[in-house]
Amino acid sequence: MSRSRLAAITAILAGSCTLAACADGGGSAAAAAPSLTTSVPAPVKDVDTVTWNLPPGEPPTLDPAQSAIESVSTPLANMCEGLFSFGPNYERVPALATSVDHPDDLTYVIHLREGVTFWDGKPVTPDDVVYSVKRILDPKLGSSWIGWAERLRSIEPTGAHEVTIKLKQPDVLVPNFFATPAFDVVEKAFAESAGRSFGTAGHGVMCTGPYKLASWTQGQNITLTRNDAWWNTQVKPKVKNLKFTFITDPSAQTAALDSGDVDGQFSVPRAAHVRLKDKGNLLFGQSLSPTFLSVLNQKGALSDPATRQAVQALIDYKGIIKSVYQGAAQPLRALVPPAAWGYGKDVYQQAYDALPQPAQDLEKAKKLVAGSAKAKQKIVLAYTTAIDEESRTATAIADAASQAGMHVQLKPLTAEQYGAMFASPQARAGVDLFLSSGYLDFPEPLTYYQFFTTGNFYNFAGYSNKEYDTAIRTAIATADPSARAREVTKAQAIMAHDLVNIPIATQYVNVYYKAGLTGLVPRQNYLYVPWATTLGGKG
């Protein structure tokens, strides 16, 4: 027994040596900042099979209702389609609908594309569309896409190829959701017969997209095959088969990508960048993703604004960007990153510039702590160990806190515990600060800021500010982009003042694919657009 254990340790050490030897270059804290890719050569060659890894692991289902998680949305984006899709700059482009009329503030008349069929050849009807949208709104299904329908009065078929949506109150966010899985269209008869098994490995789904489900071997892979009867004849996908694997361990992902066992994946572990950058295509793009600290407990140490300001002053923005994210991120002044300003850019830019530049200031933190009794109380900071960048950021914050005379106790969470933080008040009990990352579904800052209005499900701390609520409410009902941006920036300024959240950084989205492939530009919208249709072989 002792010999086998010693052999195991020796093997671990030898493995470490081998990995180190394989990796080129020595360690460096701050790699050169990567450049952002906005275009790549289009593919010219057909490829029989591309093996693509899903870093979050095997999806629990392929039901569009559950596609708010990356493991589901990454493959599903190539299978199921909504009424519209997002273009390269998040502009709404027609998909299963050709156009939408907006005769008054409360009505959207959607004109459906004619001649579209599901994979089984049956035509898409307005009934299928209405069924699909209403299905997701069923609370029993537990879909997080239910939120868009807060102001929905009705959705009905109003013609052979027409569906009409009526709202109770104006809501400028609604049209954005037409291009998200909230409006993915599934075949009514298929879904009804599958019942609760819809989307599972046993039953699969029935959609209209460029790829259809060929097989799902649980625990091993999901294979999609090209739908040659896809309605969009202007786009001819070059990849015939798309096989998804479920490697979650960052070291194993790196080894699989490096060896060519896997052809590509999104969200490549940062530690693997050095090793993969010259191997194939490691590309970066702007993201709609903020990493931030949420104040979860407004009654403890953080009830004093001085404590919150001190915490903000502790954050080593420069070190986090250069060392933790290796330059593939930017520090944030506000919760919503600049890439998510989908309109009113001048207004947002002016308001953003008016916010203090993020920089570590330990002296300021020490002064704030010295003047506040609350700031010396224990602060429990929860973060997930599943994301190395967040572990390192939390460790650095805790150390800076001790230097400033504060007591930040780290609470590491497994991936499961981290997920529970968003769903269960019990999981959040005893946590004062929560380090997490999220992303906006489309470039509309309101989608994030509305989470912090009084009574919102995601307003975990129970933050309540009448001025903030009024600004958000007004913005949601304001169609004019500049006027809306002004209302949103009002709310943004209130949030920055109250420090309900402490923004840290926006990290770039990244993708890796092997040298023989081309066509895929890294964009946050890969979660909702058929990204595999752009991929193919180089000339």
Partner: protein, 288 residues
Amino acid sequence: MTLTIPALRARAARRRRRRPLGVTLAVAFLLVAAVTGALAPLLAPHSPNATSLLDSLAPPGTAGHLLGTDSTGRDVLSRLMYGARLSLLAPLGVVLLSGILGTAAGLLAARAGGWVDAVLSRAMDIVFSFPSLLLAMLVVAVFGPGLTAPICALAVSYTPFLGRVVRSVALQEGARPYMESYRAMGFGELWTTVRHLLPNMTPVLLAQSALSFGYAMVDLASLSYLGLGVRPPAADWGSMISQAQSAILQGSPWSGLIPGLAVLLTVVSVNVLGEHIGGSIARRGEGT
């Protein structure tokens, strides 16, 4: 028997000559590790938790960081020194706890015999059949991360290792004439067991405990590696290896290799020592 000082010196020299070099090196390494851990606040060049993100992954030999820095810029040497405390004390806790439980169970089974022996032996078989690391992981899942729960769980898991050995030796010793003599003189079971049987078993207990220490260290390091051991930012060698995973991928293996080497050398040293003690007992047995 009375020995003169020159005679004592000559005997000590003979013993030193007989002691293999490996044992000497093992003892020296363990002493250095223990002293370094105990005096870490005096010896460590930096605070073990002091981060400096811009100085992360500095290689060994960097000015001010003899063994380099980890992925958050913490000094590897300082964390290694402080880490020695938990990395050595935690397995020691497992060994002490399992030693007490195992010795008590083994002696009770051997001395009481009958149904007590049968019940205790079967109980030890059941515990023995359950993988120690799995039990520790289950306990951590219930009680949360930290060292107390895994130490207790591993101690329970290791109890049969020692319990079986103690029972076996106690049965052999119990049948020896000196034990019969004490009984004939009217001394009670408890007195003869504690006063005479137990001291005679001490070398065996030491040898077995030394081996258990090595196992416990690897198990605890594995738990820390899995994020189930000490809570961050506290340093221990297992968690240092775990936190170095991303650094290894980036071509900076030292922040993981160095604590890995410390675990390896400690376990090897303890095993060498344990085997040496075991060998000495066997030789003494052959001599009698």
